[in-house]
Subunit: 294 residues, 2 copies
C-alpha cells in the first residue's frame, strides 16, 4: 500500500518543517493537537498540517505515523498512540524518529508491536527542511523501506538495516559528538571565567583559532535556549554509551552543563529573542554566576 | 641579575626543543640526567644541553630552573629539587612549566619557597619550538617577569599576573578543550564500532564534514602513543574543574578513554613508528576490542 497520508505526532520545530516538506511533495499531512502547546499548534497551522480531533481518527486516516518530538517524551507518546491503536483498531506503521537510545527504541517498538502495528526505528541528522541540506532520516527495522516513499520530499531517507536500534544508535553517536562538544566548550569557558582567565583564553584562541572561538561564542549564545531540550538527549546518549561498554561520563558532564544553562535566565530566550551581540565573555559570566557548587 | 644559564629538568619531547631554542638564543643550557630515561638522555645530547653530574652542581650553575615534564611527576621532581636546594645551599628561581592544576602548582610553589627559592608558575601552550609558531609560555607569580628574559629565544613568554595558579589554570582550560575534544571524538567512534555503525557514521561525516573526519582520523592514529602521558593531565584537569565548581565528568571520561587507549597494543608506538595509513575504522576496531566492560 503506497503512503498517501502521513501523521506527525508532536509537530514542533523539526516536525512541522518536515510536514511542510511532505505536503510540498504531494502527501497529505495530519496530526492530532490534543493537549499540545500553543507553539506546536501555531507551527502546525502555519505549515498547513491538518488537525484531527482525536488520536483514533488520526490513526484511521494515516498510512504512516512519524513521532518527532523531545526524547524525554518519546516513550510516553508511543504508549499513548499504542493505546489509541488498540482502542480504535487502527494500527498503521509507526516510526519513532526521536533522539533516543537503541534500548529505548526497542522498548517503544515492543509497545507498538503489542498494539499490532509495524515499528520503524528512526534517527534524524541535520537541521529542519528549508535550512540548507535536507535532514537525513536514518531508518532501520524490517519495514524501514516503507519510509523510502518519503525520500526527496524535503528530507533524505536512508535505510541502514533490519535491526531496531541501528538508526537510533547512529543518531546517538552523531549527537554525542556535536552536542557533547558544544557542552565541553561551554564548560571550558565557564571554568576560565571562574578562574578569572576568560580574557587570556580568548586572546590565546583568537591567535590562530579564530573560527573555533567564533563557533564557541555562537554556541554559548544559542545553547541556553535549547538546554532544557538537550537534557533528555544527554541521558539517552549516556545510556547508549554505557550499554556499549564505553564511559558514559562525557555526557553525564554534558548533562550537568545543560542543567546549568537551563538554570540561568538566558534559558527563557527563544531563537527570536536571543541577543545576537552577546559575547562569549558575557555568556560565561552568566554561566559562572549560576554554578551550583559555588 | 640577568639570566645567563638555564637548567631544564627532565628535557623530554618539549624540554629538549626548548633547550635548543634557548641555546640558539645565546644562553647556556644545562640539565641533570641522573636517573633519566635513555630517550631523554639522547634528546638532551642531540639538543646540545650540558649534563651536570648532580642536582647540587646544576643548581650552583643555574640562574633559573625550568621543570618541563609529565604532570604526574611534577610534584615529585619539585620536592627532589627542593631537597637539593636545601642540601646545597643553592636556590635559584624555579619555574614549574608542567600541565598541573592551580592547586598542584600552589603546593609545588610552597615546597620550593620552603627551600628558599623564588617560584614561578608556568603553563606551555602549543607544540615544541621548531614546529610552526613558537609555544607560548604563560607565567604568573611575583617573579614571573624573570621569565621574560627568555622571550623570543624559540619561545614566547607571557606574564599574566602575580598570582600562582593563573598560568597553570590557563593551561588547564586550553588542554581541557583540545585533549578533551580528542578523547570525546575517540569515544564516539568506539561506541559506533561497538554498535556496528562505524561505516554509517563515517559516510554521514564525509558528507559535508570531511575536514572534521580527517582530523578525528589523524587523532585516533596518534593518540594511543601519547595516551599514557595524557592520563595524569586529565586527572589534573578534572581536579581543576571540580575546584572551580564545574562538573569534572568530561575529563573523568577522557581519563577513561586515554586509559583504554593505553591498554591497547597501539600504545607501544612512538611518533616514528605510527602507521600513517591506519584508518579511523581500523583504529576504532582496536579500541572497541579492548573495552574493559565488554
Amino acid at each position: 500500500m503506497p503512503v498517501k497520508t502521513v501523521a506527525i505526532m508532536s509537530p514542533g520545530e523539526m516536525g512541522h518543517a518536515v510536514g511542510r516538506g511532505l505536503l510540498a511533495g504531494g502527501l497529505s499531512v495530519i496530526t492530532c493537537l490534543e493537549g499540545r502547546s500553543d507553539l506546536t499548534r501555531n507551527l502546525a497551522e502555519r505549515a498547513g498540517i491538518v488537525d484531527t480531533p482525536a488520536l483514533g481518527e488520526m490513526l484511521a486516516e494515516a498510512d504512516l505515523v512519524l513521532c518527532i518530538g523531545p526524547p524525554a517524551k518519546a516513550a510516553e507518546m508511543a504508549s499513548t498512540v499504542a493505546r489509541a491503536m488498540s482502542d480504535s483498531g487502527n494500527a498503521p506503521p509507526y516510526a519513532d524518529c526521536n533522539a533516543v537510545s537503541p534500548a529505548t527504541a526497542r522498548r517503544i517498538g515492543d509497545d507498538i508491536a503489542r498494539a499490532g502495528a509495524d515499528f520503524i526505528d528512526g534517527g534524524i541528522i541535520g537541521p529542519p527542511p528549508g535550512k540548507g541540506a535536507p535532514p537525513r532520516f536514518y531508518v532501520s527495522g524490517e519495514r524501514a523501506s516503507l519510509m523510502s516513499e518519503l525520500d526527496g520530499k524535503g528530507i533524505r531517507v536512508r535505510p541502514i538495516g533490519d535491526e531496531i536500534g541501528r538508526a537510533s544508535g547512529l543518531k546517538m553517536c552523531f549527537a554525542s559528538m556535536t552536542k557533547g562538544t558544544l557542552a565541553l566548550q561551554t564548560a571550558v569557558f565557564t571554568v576560565a571565567e571562574a578562574l578569572g582567565l576568560t580574557g587570556e583564553l580568548r586572546d590565546e584562541l583568537l591567535e590562530g583559532r579564530e573560527a573555533l572561538y567564533k563557533q564557541i561564542e555562537s554556541g554559548a549564545r544559542r545553547l541556553p535556549s535549547v538546554s532544557a531540550r538537550y537534557i533528555g538527549e544527554m541521558e539517552e546518549i549516556a545510556a547508549t554509551y554505557e550499554a556499549a561498554g564505553v564511559t558514559p561520563k562525557f555526557h553525564q558532564g554534558a548533562l550537568d552543563i545543560y542543567r546549568l544553562l537551563a538554570s540561568t535566565p538566558l534559558a527563557k530566550e527563544t531563537s527570536e529573542t536571543i541577543d545576537p551581540n552577546r559575547t562569549l565573555e558575557e555568556a560565561a559570566k552568566v554561566f559562572a554566576r549560576h554554578l551550583p557548587m559555588k
